[in-house]
């Protein structure tokens, strides 16, 4: 360590974060000063965490100041590590907090992905309760939501968050940065059991393949059994014209989505609520995704206060063929989830197909038929998915088969 460095957020208004200052010195040992808002309940615990972290990082000669505003341990650890790294060339050591109860969570290719909730990667106060709002996926964002000078801090915080915070049934996602920095993000987060990487501003299959190769490498080294799934985000006209190549660039891609803020800027058009300027692009995404056999997912709706606008936008997306939408505020999640929920007519149709499918299975028939009509396998698959979704949303009782006799 060579220079004085700081990390984290400071001040009375800061919540669930802390501020760390590291002042290297030769000789004199380690001098730790901790003040914490939770002194009465966790003062000793906070000091112990600081000591353990500094010890693991091999910090010996320094004055370290920590001002804590109720940060959880994994946040304190990340902030200290960031400050120590910033203090200049380190010994390469790192300190990973103990994994929490949600660390082993698994995902499947086929799960539904109606809502994905973006969380700024450097704002710890949003992490703890994010899953309680019921999103299908939680995205820890390292890209646009993080200021350039905080990229290093966000990467460590997101890494620790993935280890410790329980996201329940939500899919664990990270949006990485562009280019080389994004690949370094992959190295840092993939070993922490990330289910899906969102790749921003994709314009070519090669971009996806570079991330895929790096992610495969990282997850194998970490001994993780499942490949890391991918969702490319197309955000430019060039990306739209390469959409099919992008969608088919890797077998690990499960969904394709679009970012309209950048796209409309590229077009030189204003982004409007009704979205006429982007109809073509969105249809390209849907078609490319369907052609590749993956899920098309719509962009975000940026006016957080306009619930009705969000509902209309989600229903319109569904009518175009999208199966989900991004959320930038937790209160958008239930609106999006319900908009992408199947309608009573869809549920009834799917229910009958599933019953016919199961009946065919019991009789050992290779062909599923409903009345005089033969049902193709993709339609059965879709019906199973609709029923699964309907059950998950309590639109269909779990015992609907027996109820119907």
């Amino acid at each position: 360590m060579r220079r004085v460095a700081e990390a984290g957020q400071r001040g009375e208004k800061v919540r669930s974060d802390c501020w760390v200052r590291v002042e290297p010195r030769s000789g004199g040992g380690l001098d730790l000063h901790v003040t914490t808002k939770v002194e009465a309940m966790y003062g000793d615990a906070v000091r112990a965490t600081c000591r353990r972290t500094l010890d693991a990082l091999g910090v010996e000669g320094a004055v370290v100041t920590v001002e804590d505003q109720g940060a959880l341990d994994f946040v304190i650890v990340a902030r200290i590590e960031t400050a120590v790294n910033r203090a200049g060339p380190g010994n390469g050591r790192t300190f990973l907090p103990e994994p929490g109860p949600g660390f082993q969570a698994r995902t499947t290719r086929e799960r539904f992905r109606r809502s994905r909730l973006y969380l700024p990667g450097n704002e710890p106060r949003f992490f703890l309760n994010a899953a309680l709002h019921g999103p299908d996926g939680i995205i820890l964002d390292l890209e646009d939501a993080v200021a350039p000078q905080e990229k290093d801090a966000a990467r460590l915080l997101v890494r620790n968050t993935l280890r410790v915070v329980d996201f329940g049934p939500a899919e664990r996602m990270v949006r990485i940065n562009q280019g080389e920095r994004g690949l370094e993000d992959v190295d840092a987060v993939v070993p922490q059991n990330v289910h899906m990487i969102l790749i921003p501003k994709v314009e070519s299959a090669e971009q996806v393949q570079a991330v895929d190769a790096r992610a495969e490498n990282a997850r194998k080294e970490a001994g993780l059994p499942q490949p890391c799934l991918l969702m490319p985000i197309i955000e430019s006209p060039l990306g739209c014209f390469s959409a099919l190549a992008i969608a088919t660039a890797s077998p690990n891609i499960v969904a394709l989505t679009i970012g309209l803020e950048d796209y409309t800027a590229h077009l030189g058009a204003e982004r409007t609520a009704e979205g006429r300027e982007s109809v073509w692009a969105r249809q390209v995404i849907v078609n490319a995704a369907r052609a590749a056999g993956i899920t098309p997912i719509d962009t975000i709706f940026s006016d957080v206060s306009d619930v009705e606008g969000l509902r209309r936008s989600a229903l319109e997306a569904k009518s175009l063929g999208f199966e989900g939408k991004g959320c930038i505020h937790p209160r958008q999640v239930p609106v999006v989830n319900s908009a992408f929920a199947p309608t009573p007519e869809e549920i009834e149709k799917a229910r009958r197909i599933v019953l016919a499918f199961e009946e065919a299975g019991r009789r050992g028939l290779g062909v599923v038929s409903l009345g005089s009509k033969m049902i193709d396998p993709p339609i059965v698959k879709r019906a199973l998915r609709t029923v699964e979704l309907a059950e998950a949303l309590a639109l269909l009782p779990k015992d609907w088969r027996t109820k119907e006799g």
Partner: protein
Amino acid sequence: MDGKSGSVELQANALDRPVPMMVNGKPQVPYRGVHGYRATGCKAAPPIPSAADYPQDGDKRVRSLREALEACGLEDGMTLSTHHHFRDGDLIANLLLDVCAEMGKKDLMWFPSASFPCHAPVIGHMERGIVHHIEGSMNGPLGDYCTDGKMRGLGVLRSHGGRWQAIQDGEVHVDIAVIAAPCADLFGNANGVHGPAACGSLYFALADSMYADRVIVVTDHLVPFPAIPWQIQGNHVDFVVTVDKVGDPGKIVSGTTQITKSPDRLLLAELVARFVRDAGILRDGFSFQAGAGGTALAFAIFLKEMMKQAGVKARFIRGGSTKYLVEMLNEGLADYILDGQTFDLDGVVSMRDNPRHVASSPFTSYNYHGKGFFGSLVDVVVLGATEVDVHFNANVVTHSDGRLLHGIGGWQNCLFAGCTILAVPAVRDRIPVIVDEVTTLTGPGELIDVIVTERGIAINPRRHDLREAVRGTDLPVRDIRDIQKEVEQVCGGKPRSPRRSGQVVAAVKWVDGTVLDSVWKVER
């Protein structure tokens, strides 16, 4: 008065909390259970006045507050009361104590119905010996002054209903009540609905006006007789003083009426509303109370939508009122608002103009030493708390570290509702809300029915009926210990219990005047 609470004898009450047997020179009864104590004897009464001693023309004006205090016979050691309808915009309590200081008085007891950050100058008066101690809610700098052990007497924290009870029972004898009035006439009739400092009701000062030896009304808006409505009746009033300004209108009705934007709090509020609906409490003719906090307001808005969907109407809503409750009244979703205080201008205007928006006193709503009180007729109340324990006991007066945070307000009195719900975030910046034992017991668990957190709903095992009512719904009902365990896992283990010093600095009263718990000096 004994200044050293360290030497006061303590005794464990019915909930095993050590409480002082003597408070500010007066013997105390330790808490005996929710309904465990019966007071005896008669209510207090002020001296009998004669109209002959008051002006025939009804003009009770004197030139200044000082003149009024002199005429009232202000002496060292007296008890002076004020009300808190102006909240943080109050100018009169500070003026009163400044005048007392000018007059060279000592050892007064200030008996506000609540104190606010604007009352921080009282610390100076305590330092200089003008004020001996405060009996009333204390927070911010005043709260710290008390929990640092600097106040000479013990603080006494009472609910709004408990304050009426204490005055009525003679437990606190008010020598001089000073009532700041947004509108008054020269006879002393006064109300809070007119004038530049309009605040709605004046009923937190009603008991003071009825039971104090002497009553002074201070106004900045004098109208010819009669000042209508006469919330405070001039027949109780000795003197009327006019000043330029009684309060800062911007601070009287603002700040508490923002609906929360926090997604976690909104989730909490929605869960509470769903519980009220799914438990079958939301039905035609029901009644509810929701306070002015952001979560409570959001609850009212969710509930409103559910009421519309279900096509039901409330018989009455218990305020603190805000524009959201006023809208419900005006849209025909409730027959009445019974209102203890108005939190915004819409509330004030509605109370002034709408006969169905009724100002209610702590006597009608909350006083336990009455022949009933309508707080127990409310079907459901939604309240907050700083801590709850696994036995459903709750704390509203201190932080987890034992420092005074806020007053009891109507909180204790509201616990008698048909269903008492505490809406609390399970974690606040690493501080778990569910603990093994609350730092300061403010409400006994047997009156607290449901604790709603963003991580699940805990129903008091005593309330089989509520458990049955929500069985089979998709509400996340959980054991309180499960939620506690989950949160402790998140926060990094069980929190350390607060270190309790040996010195009592304040007593928390129950609604019947018994002592429910002690507040202890906090060592820094």
